[in-house]
Every structure is written in structure tokens, then in C-alpha cells.
Subunit: 345 residues, 2 copies
């Protein structure tokens, strides 16, 4: 199995992506194709001084361009045919790589997915999914940013994809699915949410109804479906608020000696809570609904985060997660025939 890694993406580019990929070689048995500027990657690799055993599991695929964060994603993907994201996506389409991991522009990945890799039949829009920590087991949250504006049938498709993916990722038989809304009653939300509620109720999925944001962390539901705007806001809020709480604790601790002593003793426990809330431990966010596996790693990914994302991706390839989503989509399509847009381009 070969995993393509976009060496140019993320806030630190090859500086973190390349050592992250090398670290991943130690964590899983996959081979890695680093995609990007050959000269830069070679320099990074040689500075790491890796042995022949790891060295023969890593290769470089040259890409002369890269897509920056401030470019219009769709235009960039269409015109920069030799960018690391497009080249990496092409490797997946051609079956030369089992998956692509990139910390580059989310917009460019979301555009390159359908355009280059292609969609699963019946899926109109791929969705970004990420596991979020809860008090129980993690729950899969989607869409966290691919589709700011959604139709009810998109939310239904996200639910079907999320359910199949969560089954593979968490090893659960029939994951429960909730719809993120501003109240538990079916009458809550926008018109889109109310119609999605209806479609989900009739879908055959284990739909438990609307979920209020205050209960996400309770971990009572396996999959939470959201439009990409609200999902993105919620994900970033979790990130920011988690950090803010620990910063507030630090502020309070600095005010008195007794608390300082306490913090010292409590440090391992606090660290472990922080780790539980740390997304880099959970791998990246796959773009569900594509005919191949494309995983978005956090833009500020460290080498550790890259290594996690690659190792988790390898596990997902082994579990045949794309195949099971294809099966689920086909079955879902048969059961819900006529139940909405089928996504023909």
C-alpha cells in the first residue's frame, strides 16, 4: 500500500510534512510517496539521515507547483495541474496511491476531490468528517467545512457516508446518527434542517433526532451531521475554547502559590485531558464521498500530527473504508430511490 503525502501543504510545508512522513513509516507498514518539489524534499530527507530500511519505503513524486491559501481553490485546482495537491489526487485516481494526505488548502482539496479523484455514485457533495473527543468514545462529526451551504438531501447523504465510515473507524455495527440543530424538537432549525430531519426519519439509518450542541461532548451518539458552515464554526470553537480553558487555568495558577503546587501535582492529569482534546491525536479529516481516500490534516500540523494522520489513513485503507462507503451508498441509493438528488455532476 502506498500513501501519497502532500509535502508542500500546511503552515510549515516540507519542514514538518517530511519528518512526519518518516515518523509514520515507523508507525505503520505502508509505503509513502512524498509529492512536491523534488529538490526541497530530497534536502529534508537527507538532513534526517534515515536508514536504508525506511529509505526504501519512501519515494518522491515531483510536483513543480503548489497551491497557496489565498488562491481561489477551484481556479487553482483547474489551472495548477502540476501542483502537489492535484498530482497527489491524480495518483489516487490512477490507483498508484491508496490515499492522499494533505495539510494544504481545505478549499483546494475539496475542489480536487470530485474533479480529480471523482465521487461515489449517488453522492452529490463530499463532506469533511472528523472524530471529536467526548466523555465516552469519540463521535464522528461532519460536514466540518466542505459545504457551507447544503440542501436537505446533502445532509441525508452525509448521514449515510458518516454512518458507513464510523462503522469502519470505530468498529460499531449500526452507528446512531444525530442532526445538529438549535433544539431537539423536529420543528427546530432552518427550513433545510427541518426537511433533512424528515428525510433522515425515513432513511433506514439509526436516526436519533436533533442533537443540541451542549450534548455533543456527552458521547451519546456516534455520528453528528451538520451543514458545513455550522460544522466548521463548531469545530473551530471546540479548538479555541479547549485552549482558552487551559489558558484560564494557567492565569489563575500564576496568581497564587498554593495553586502552583496543585498544578504541579495535577500536571499529568491535565496533560492527559489536553491529549484527549487534541485533534492531532485523532488523525486527519477524511473527505467522505470520494471514489478514493483523501485526508485533510490540520493546517498547523506538526510532524507528530502528520505521522498520526498518515498512520490512521493506513489503517483506514486496510479496513477498506472506501469500499464500505461505496457499498453503503449503493444500498442506500437502492433503498431511498427517488429520495433526492443523485449527484450527476
Amino acid at each position: 500500500m502506498i500513501i501519497a503525502v502532500d509535502a508542500m501543504g500546511g503552515d510549515y510545508g516540507p519542514l514538518e510534512a517530511v519528518p512526519g512522513a518518516v515518523e509514520a513509516l515507523r508507525r505503520c507498514s505502508a509505503r509513502i510517496a512524498l509529492v512536491g518539489d523534488e529538490a526541497v524534499i530530497a534536502k529534508e530527507l537527507s538532513s534526517l539521515g534515515i536508514g536504508a530500511d525506511l529509505g526504501q519505503r519512501i519515494s518522491v513524486v515531483h510536483a513543480s507547483e503548489s497551491i497557496t491559501m489565498d488562491e481561489d481553490p477551484l481556479t487553482a485546482v483547474r489551472h495548477k495541474r502540476d501542483s502537489s495537491i492535484v498530482v497527489g489526487a491524480r495518483l489516487v485516481r490512477e490507483g498508484r496511491a491508496a490515499a492522499l494526505v494533505s495539510a494544504g488548502s481545505t478549499g483546494a482539496l475539496v475542489a480536487a476531490g470530485p474533479l480529480v479523484v471523482g465521487r461515489i455514485p449517488g453522492i452529490a457533495r463530499p463532506a469533511l468528517a472528523t472524530p471529536v473527543p467526548t466523555l465516552k468514545r469519540p463521535c464522528l462529526f461532519l460536514d466540518v467545512g466542505a459545504n457551507p451551504e447544503c440542501k436537505p438531501e446533502h445532509l441525508l447523504q452525509f448521514a449515510a457516508l458518516g454512518s458507513a465510515y464510523a462503522a469502519a473507524l470505530f468498529g460499531i455495527q449500526r452507528p446512531s446518527v444525530g442532526l445538529l440543530s438549535n433544539g431537539t424538537e423536529p420543528s427546530k432549525g432552518t427550513a433545510v434542517h427541518r426537511q433533512a430531519f424528515e428525510l433522515l426519519s425515513k432513511s433506514g439509518l439509526d436516526f436519533v433526532g436533533n442533537i443540541e450542541a451542549r450534548t455533543i461532548q456527552s458521547g451519546d451518539v456516534d455520528v453528528i451531521v451538520s451543514d458545513g458552515f455550522t460544522g466548521n464554526v463548531a469545530l473551530k470553537l471546540m479548538e479555541g475554547l479547549g485552549q482558552a480553558v487551559f489558558q484560564m487555568i494557567r492565569q489563575e495558577v500564576e496568581r497564587n502559590f498554593r495553586a502552583k503546587m496543585g498544578a504541579l501535582l495535577l500536571k499529568p492529569a491535565l496533560k492527559s485531558v489536553k491529549a484527549r482534546m487534541d485533534y492531532s491525536e485523532y488523525g486527519g479529516a477524511p473527505l467522505l464521498g470520494l471514489a478514493g481516500l483523501v485526508v485533510k490534516a490540520h493546517g498547523s500540523s506538526s510532524r507528530k500530527a502528520f505521522a498520526s494522520a498518515i498512520a490512521v489513513t493506513a489503517r483506514l485503507v486496510e479496513a477498506g473504508v472506501v469500499q464500505s462507503m461505496k457499498r453503503a451508498a449503493a444500498q442506500f441509493r437502492a433503498e431511498n430511490a427517488g429520495g433526492g438528488e443523485t449527484g450527476g455532476s
Copy 2:
């Protein structure tokens, strides 16, 4: 100054609302009119055994009905003319009370506000606003639930109202205003957000651009404007996630003795962080854009939360917050003539 308090609203009804009102009498100089079932309120009051000094500052206004959480809000407000929310709102409209505080159905308050109290000219939709804790001073966040679906001009009006209210509440000259979106670039968000960005840029308010949810807690902006769906999800997520972090800390602490000792020493610091994140300390959420002051207290308000909400409301009445919003709306209307819907019913 008389403040009307809905004695029947909230998860605990008169059991918390009545002692909360009595506690508020000790915290501010306002008089209080308890609105609700006379017999039940009288029983609660007598069980509290308050002295004549406080007793003469509290009165009861009978309301034979109350609106439950599962009723359709608009229908309930239209038909239950003698419900505690409608009677309380009528006291405000008739100038017999300076404000109404209620922990009852948000939907019913949002419906009763425009219908019974009336709107400020030029404001199409009232918005629920609440201060949220940050690492610096609190920031005003609106709309947190009154309008799940918004037009761009509604978001513009929320910004104008929020700016005037934050100026009065926090005592700042020209509050900075941000728009909650899924990225900082003007191209981010839904079509509604992109149009609102444009209107805000031309508005004359101190608009700083789009705000990502991960920076809300940094406290760099005074007012954050959102549609009511996303705002409600974000507010409830803050509530749930804050609690989840402390519960995770507790789980970790219970696992080992050293951490237990640390937690003991750190307890006052953790308690103080919890208090900073506790919404009940920040009073209720006013419905901005009405011709009078209507404040929504949290549904699960304890007596302490009621007392806070009433005391903060008294301070807002003294600060003439409704008058300054009326002035701001008039000025804003003159400056932005033709810049959108004016809200004529």
C-alpha cells in the same frame, strides 16, 4: 424603577424565580413585580419569611396562565393573553415596568417581544444577545437564538444594536464588531454572510471583518454578530464543552492519588475558572431591538442566576440602554438610508 419578573418561567418555576427575585432586592434598589399565579407566589413568598423593608419593594401581578416549552410559541402568545409572559410584556409596553425578566420559553419571549412590547423603528427582527467570557473582557454575542434564518440586512441591524448595547454594558466608546464565519476572508460563509460582510464594511460601524470561532475566546473583538442558528449552536457548545473539560479533569483526577492532592490544592483556581465561564454570573440575554427591555434568563436558572439577571437588568435600565439603542437605530437609519429592509411589520 419596577422590574417585572416572570415567576412561572424556567425549569423550576416559582421555586427558584421567587427566591431569586427576593435575593435581587438585596443586590439592587429596583422594585420587583412578580408575574404569575398569585396563590403560588404568595405561598413561596411567605415561606421565605421576608421582612417589611424588602416586602414593600415586591408586588404580585396575577396571570392565570403560563406558556409551556412544548407549545407553538406564536400561537401561545396570541391565544394565552393572560399568560405570565404576555402579562409581563404588557407591563413593559404600558410603562408600568421598566423591564421584563423571564426564564420561560425563548420562542414565546421572541414572539411576545415584537407583538406586545413593539420594535424600535428600523429594526426588522429583535436578536438575543449574551456576553460570553473570554481571556480578556467579555464580548457580546448575538443573535444566539431568536432568528435561525437571517437576511444580510438583519445581520447589519444586529451589529448596530449590539454595538450600542455593548457601549452601554461595557462602557466602551466605539465597540469593534466582527462577523462569525468559517474563515477570515470576505469570500467565506454562505451567500447571506458574504452580503452581510459587504453591508457591514460600508456601515460606519467599527467592523473588523470575519471572525473564526477559534478566536472568539481571545477577546479581541467587542461584538460578534451571527445568524441565530449558528449563534445558538455556538453558545450551547460553549456551555457543553466547558462542562465536559471539567468532567474530564475529574475523571483523570479520580485515577490517581497524586492528582487528587493536586486537585485539592488547585480547587480554588479551578473554581474561579468555572465561575468565569458560568453564564449565570453574566445576567440574562436581552432581546435587542425592542422598544422596551426584555431579558431572557437561562431555562435552568437557579435563584442565584435569577438574582444576577434581575440585578444586571436594573443596571441596564439605569444606564438607559433602550434609549441609546433607539438613538443608535435612528442615527444608523439616517446614515444607511435605503440600505435594506426597515422592518415595517
